[in-house]
Symmetry: C2
Subunit: 190 residues, 2 copies
């Protein structure tokens, strides 16, 4: 059987906002402005940034569009040390037990009680890719990286949707630990 190769997509820390929070942070009725498209269909980076504030410090996160139903703040473990915020490792959208923080925009600030996570490393599969490799939505996988900083990522979460493009999403800490960058190919192993 051929190798299950997946392109890497390195994801920087970022934030998704609901309109209610956009109104508070940027002003009533404010509309996010498009900066550039992302590899996942329909997703884009905006020109807007929000300050995420914790007990020890803050980090500036780019807002991703489109507007979501719930605000979600995706920080890195490095950010946890900078801000003093402690966020659980969760998959996007699974915000039970997620943490809170203060968000500050040019117009105002708000304290959110949940929505702060460190995103679990995951692979987006288009349905046809998942079927070909017999991978199911919510499976946990292992991904092997070769090279000087070779390693095997355990606990890689599988998400399958018709709207997804095949991609292994890691954050900057993970990418640099393994010395991989967007577009590199890695292998799903058993």
């Amino acid at each position: 059987m051929s190798k299950k190769l997946v392109p890497v997509g390195v994801t920087n820390h970022h934030i998704h906002l609901c309109q209610e929070h956009i109104d508070i942070l940027f002003g009533k009725g404010y509309q996010l402005t498009h900066f550039k498209d992302l590899s996942q269909p329909g997703q884009y980076a905006t020109n807007e940034k929000v300050k995420v504030i914790g007990p020890k410090g803050s980090v500036n996160l780019r807002v991703l569009g489109p507007v979501r139903e719930y605000t979600q703040v995706e920080i890195s473990v490095s950010d946890q040390y900078i801000t003093g915020l402690d966020a659980p490792v969760r998959y996007s959208g699974k915000l039970n037990d997620s943490a809170g923080c203060i968000l500050k925009g040019p117009h105002g600030e708000i304290e959110i009680q949940s929505g702060l996570i460190v995103t679990v490393r995951h692979i987006h599969f288009h349905t046809t890719d998942a079927q070909k490799w017999d991978i199911k939505d919510n499976d946990w996988l292992k991904v092997k990286v070769d090279g000087d900083r070779g390693l095997i990522f355990d606990n890689v979460f599988a998400r399958v949707k018709d709207s997804y493009a095949l991609e292994f999403h890691v954050d900057l800490d993970e990418a640099n630990a393994a010395k991989i960058k967007t577009g590199d190919m890695v292998e799903i192993i058993d």
Copy 2:
């Protein structure tokens, strides 16, 4: 057989200097001043810092003591993106094919032609630990980390010396990718 457990020691980027370069960067005959002892016997952090300059930017690195025969600059993959410097993954002291950079101190600056590396993840073994587990100097090992960000580090270099304290050395990128910190226990696996 009992598990081969090793405590983690997270190593921040840093620099070792020879006296000739200390003279240039800090002034003729300058002596490094002790800041705090490190876990490896005889090694210590100093109060001195040096700017490491590349084509895109710079990072400030703390000088470690004691003075060495050769200058060695140990940066992270994150630092490579910040500075635009491209350093090979090497073990400390193995500086063949290592890269160069500009170093700037309070007294002067110098361009070095070699000595710039990204340190390969490695374990220091006291001789008795290595014998107990049948591990030889220069072996390549695998280290397993459990938890939310669990992974298996491949290409872990073994160094054995009577003067070493047992410790698994990773940089901040690697520590944050695996969500481990100094003092956590990890396991050598076959």
